[in-house]
């Protein structure tokens, strides 16, 4: 757009001429100026004084409570809500960047349609026309409607989707995105179901722990709740009497969690579960610590050969012994499962081994240790449970077979998230009508026929069941903090409107608008910590406080074994033979871009990655020896090939990674999604195939091998650090830690 001619420009031009320093009094030319008296300002507005609104952050599935600073109807700053039980006033980088989701210049300014999918020729149309089109398609489709949404969809919209689908006889809405898929949310819940009798996310309180063994869990970066775990970690390091805990991180590539650990164990990728099992085995065999613990360990496991596990994982047996001792003799010990562990082909067993360790530690249910995320406090409050990988594949099959007539996509971006082999785009070609509700055109909306942009979370209504929730159930509330920036409409309202015209759905969705539905939901919650009675008071308190949580936190549930697990650990089977594909592939979500959804926000793109200090790019991390073998340096572009795909990206020499492993961050490689995301970096999901773990619930991404070939091309790495200074600098410098 044309740059406005400001007074500054005028002064600069003046400086260039003979005279310098044009003084005040010279106004730039303008056709007109509007003067509008502020006779009737909105109720809560005081000039120069900000108003704060409570809402919920939706940059990841956790659901931290936020307060947004509003002045003159503009959202200026997001802070954590101090009263919110999950984050208690703190917020992570992605949460802070939420303002740029709201004020993104590439957002759709209104509904559009695409007569040719993928053409990027979007024709604007009126809302009435758009909603009408949607209605017609839905009415004609009957029960052959599929809904694909993601884990940050508001509970109320998910509820409405579910009711709609049930009413018309269609399949349940599918919740699948890369964040929860990559982190194994479904597997975590499934294994909890199997072990403890309830499908819930496990949570681990760390603030009073003595010993934490993290099996590849980047709990401080992009784990299940980076903010909450951050708070826990702060407490962990500042326990009474100077106690600062002992954290061991077992992962092949150092994340920020490993950076702050007391001991980093660079084990071979895919062997996290094996190592956990070996520790249980050692505790059982050596009868470490108390007799109870040893007995429990013996009942949980048997027949593992610690020596062969030591060889397979590249962790010496003495080290395993040491870890087992440390864990068993601690009074408060916690074991954390990581995404790479759940991403193996035998993730369920691996996870069971880690949970076994927690049970042995005996801290389950205590102030420190393993608990299960509490269930929803009310039937009316729903949480979008991430679907199993196999369920997602089933829907794709249905789509490919032509059994889906209308596909509604909300919040999810499967065209970007999923490996190509999953076949989403092929399947979508067989769906006659695809409607997307994306506020900004992403890779999936590119293949839609109609886009009815939803409001972004700062402009929208809703609620989120905090997930995972550590000590108490909490329903985080979401309300618009500004009037919509662009001409968008709430998807829930559209759904309610459309449902009115479909007889089957009209009864199931009788509400005139979403707020009425939300109010009913809140009423059913009843009074919580904020007290009050009656719908008006409850609704007001819900908005004011930023949600609902119980007046007094319930006793932490002590998960107990419902059934004895059969922990049968095997060596991981890697895709790709060792000769042809000599390196292990280790993918990880970028701490700033997470699974790719952060790529549209310049604050996240432009901030340096904490470990490599690179911004704006994708890179391939190689150990210095590996780089030397291949003859590459920083910025040299290499081609990384797996049995499933390939990509090219520049090298970033990284000292804290196994020499036989290469690591690539997720998040870049967008072809749409706005100017900040588009056409930069690569999406490493191209290297992953469509393989699930043995139970079919989780994408198996962490047991791939790759080969690397230098291409001879170079690019400048956008490093914030001076790498020469940091790596060579003062060679004998004494470090104050």
């Amino acid at each position: 757009m044309a740059r406005e001619f400001t007074r500054r420009d005028f002064l600069k031009l003046g400086a260039m001429g003979a005279a310098t320093a044009v003084m005040a009094g010279c106004q730039p030319p303008r056709p007109w100026i509007t003067l509008e008296p502020y006779v009737r300002p909105p109720e809560q507005q005081l000039a120069g004084v900000a108003t704060w609104f409570a809402s919920t952050c939706r940059q990841c599935p956790a659901g931290c409570g936020i307060l947004v600073r509003i002045m003159n109807g503009r959202a200026l700053k997001i802070e954590g809500n101090p009263d919110h039980p999950l984050n208690q006033g703190k917020l992570c980088a992605r949460g802070q960047a939420g303002l740029q989701v709201l004020y993104n210049p590439d957002r759709l300014t209104g509904p559009v349609q695409q007569s040719q999918r993928g053409s990027r020729m979007y024709e604007p149309l009126a809302w009435e026309a758009g909603i009408n089109t949607l209605y017609e398609k839905l009415a004609a489709a009957g029960g052959r409607v599929a809904v694909w949404t993601n884990s940050t969809v508001s509970g109320h919209l998910f509820d409405l989707f579910q009711r709609f689908s049930a009413a018309v006889g269609g399949p349940s809405p599918l919740v699948y995105d890369l964040y929860t898929g990559f982190n194994g949310y479904r597997l975590l819940a499934d294994v909890s179901q199997e072990l403890f009798g309830r499908a819930a996310l496990p949570t681990y309180s760390l603030s009073h722990a003595d010993v934490i063994l993290s099996f590849g869990a980047d709990f401080l970066g992009t784990g299940l709740s980076a903010v909450r775990y951050g708070r826990e970690f702060g407490g962990f390091r500042s326990q009474p009497l100077g106690k600062r805990g002992y954290l061991v991180q077992l992962e092949p590539r150092m994340s920020i969690s490993a950076a702050v650990a007391d001991h980093w164990v660079p084990l071979r990728p895919g062997t996290e579960g094996l190592v956990a099992g070996a520790l249980v085995q050692i505790i059982a065999e050596e009868e470490l610590a108390s007799a109870d613990r040893a007995a429990l360990a013996q009942s949980l496991i048997g027949g593992l050969d610690v020596g062969s596990i030591a060889a397979a994982s590249d962790v010496p047996a003495e080290e395993l012994l040491h870890l087992a001792h440390a864990f068993a003799s601690a009074s408060q010990a916690v074991a954390l499962p990581g995404a790479a562990l759940t991403g193996t082909d035998a993730g369920a067993e691996a996870l069971a081994a880690v949970q076994a360790l927690n049970l042995i530690a005996g801290t389950a249910g205590e102030a420190s240790g393993l608990t299960l995320s509490p269930p929803s406090p009310s039937e009316a409050v729903l949480s979008p449970e991430p679907a199993a990988f196999s369920d997602m594949q089933a829907l794709i099959e249905q789509m490919r077979a032509g059994q889906v007539q209308v596909l509604l996509v909300h919040g999810a971006n499967p065209a970007y998230d999923l490996p190509e082999q999953v076949g989403f785009l092929d399947a979508v070609a067989n769906v006659p009508f695809v409607a997307s509700f994306a506020p900004i055109v992403d890779e999936t909306a590119l293949w839609a026929d109609l886009i009815l942009p939803d409001r972004t979370y700062l402009e929208g209504w809703g609620y989120a069941l905090v997930s995972p929730s550590f000590d108490q159930p909490a329903v985080s509330g979401q309300q618009p903090v500004v009037t919509p920036v662009f001409d968008s409409r709430s998807t829930a309202d559209i759904l309610l409107t459309v449902a009115r015209g479909i007889p089957a759905a009209a009864q199931a969705l009788p509400w005139p608008h979403e707020v009425a539905f939300l109010q009913e939901t809140v009423e059913q919650l009843g009074p919580g910590a904020a007290g009050g009675s009656g719908i008006d008071v409850l609704w007001t308190r819900f908005q004011q406080e930023g949600g609902w949580w119980p007046a007094s936190p319930p006793e932490p549930e002590a998960p107990s074994l419902a059934s004895a697990p059969t922990i049968q650990l095997q060596s991981p089977s890697f895709r790709g033979g060792e000769e042809e594909y000599p390196y292990h592939l280790y993918l990880y979500p970028s701490g700033l871009l997470s699974d790719g959804r952060g790529a549209s926000q310049p604050w996240l793109q432009g901030s340096p990655d904490p470990m490599t200090t690179v911004s704006w790019q994708t890179w391939v991390e190689l150990h210095p020896e590996t780089a030397e073998e291949l003859g590459v340096h920083d910025g040299d572009i290499v081609q990384v090939t797996s049995p499933e795909g390939e990509l090219e990206a520049p090298v970033c020499v990284y000292p804290a990674i196994r020499p036989d492993t290469v690591a690539i961050p997720l998040g870049q490689g967008h072809t749409d999604y706005g100017r900040y995301a588009r056409d930069r970096g690569r999406n490493p999901m191209q290297l992953v195939g469509a393989q699930a773990d043995a139970t079919g619930s989780s994408l198996a991404w962490s047991t791939l091998r790759v080969k690397i070939r230098p291409t001879g091309e170079k690019v400048a790495l956008a490093l914030f650090e001076n790498k020469v200074g940091v790596t060579e600098g003062f060679l004998n410098a004494e470090f104050p830690h």
Partner: protein, 484 residues
Amino acid sequence: MSVNEVEHPVWRRPLLEGEDLAEQAEHLKRRHLLLDPKFPWEMNDDALKPMYRTSPSFWVIVVALSGLVMMGAITWFRQIYWGLGITGLNRPIYWGLFLVNTVYFIGIGHAGTFISAALRVLKIEWRRPISRAAETITLFGLTAAGLSILMHLGRVWKFYWLLPYPNQRQLWPNFHSPLMWDFMAILTYLTGSTLFIYLGLLPDLAMARDHTVGWRYRLYSILSLGWRGTEKEWAYHKTALDIFSYVIIPVMFSVHTIVSWDFAMSIQPGWNSTIFGPYFIVGALFSGVAAVIIVMAIIRKSMRLEYFLRHEHFDGMAKFLLILSFTWAYFYFSDYIVPWYNGEPVMKVVFDVLRRGWAAPLWYLMLFCNLLLPVATLWSRRVRSNTAALVMVCIYIQIGMYLERYFIVPVFLGYNELPFSWGTYIPRAGVLLTIASFAMIILLYMLFSRVVPLIPVWEILEGQIFQGLKRIGRALLPARSEPH
């Protein structure tokens, strides 16, 4: 007879007979300008004629230089409009070519002041024909330096805030800041140099007025301020020049000391060295004298000033250059050995980079240009008598001194106590502006030489009056009488 004739030392000369006195006199006259008088009207002609001589090649060069200056102006406008981002500056290297140029241009200006003021005070007579040509370098060098300072400002249109003027907000500039002292010192030096050169020009402007017509006549009439050449005017003139000479010498010393304090007063490793004051002065004289030699050689050829500029002048300057080379080496050594000895970590890294890192080729080149080459060549009479060789050496000295300033500014700034924030400098827009600055100086000099007589005829006449040949035994010796 050419200046390049090698003269034999005394013990090799043949015994003198009667006519040899004349031969001796011829020798001496050839070698010393002041012993080789011409009629004043002849000298005036020789001084004024070059101003009219503008050959086609002159204009070609002027046009080319103007083109470069225009390119510089456009680049500067672009920089003002878009911001300093078009340069290669970054964090932590906040100063780059602009500061290097500033220091360099102020540096080469010192020779002018030295020759016209210090040599005058020391009564070294061979300074006479070259003083104005050298002062002109000072004048335009300072102009370029001032422009370079303006170029490096982030918001140049506010530069006048550095002037202490009463204002409504009661704000004064910060007199604690070395840049403030810099500003004052350079203004003083520029003003002083301008007045000094103008003062010295007055008699010659009057002479020009009396010998020209048309626009030149009008110009010189105004500029010569009605100089009539009466005894009183000459007396006042001499007094004024004497005072100026004495006064501008400390100004010259203080200016480059203050410029060096831009660096020495900071805490940047490599900059906060207490020896920077005298070190910079010596460096300035070094590069300045070399610049004067180059300019002298050029104008001697192009303006046909062979009568005025002789071997003795080049010889004297070259010997001075040799001394300066040793002095510079001494200060450079002092500046390096102290931090090397105390093993300061950042300087250790810097020395490593200079000795065998990426900067090594440039560093060794600098040492070659500033130390090795002058010391190896300038002792030799052969080299000093060969103008081409001498000019080559001086060009290398310019390169060496420019490199020296380049090391101090953008190279040292790249290293500090927090290695995460080290940096590298790759000059961009600064290169164009540097080329344009040089072009501007040369252009102004060329135009100046066609508007103002570059040779101070009255000074030469004065010298020739007081100089003579005195016979002592069988030898003829140059002798000088003191004016009252």
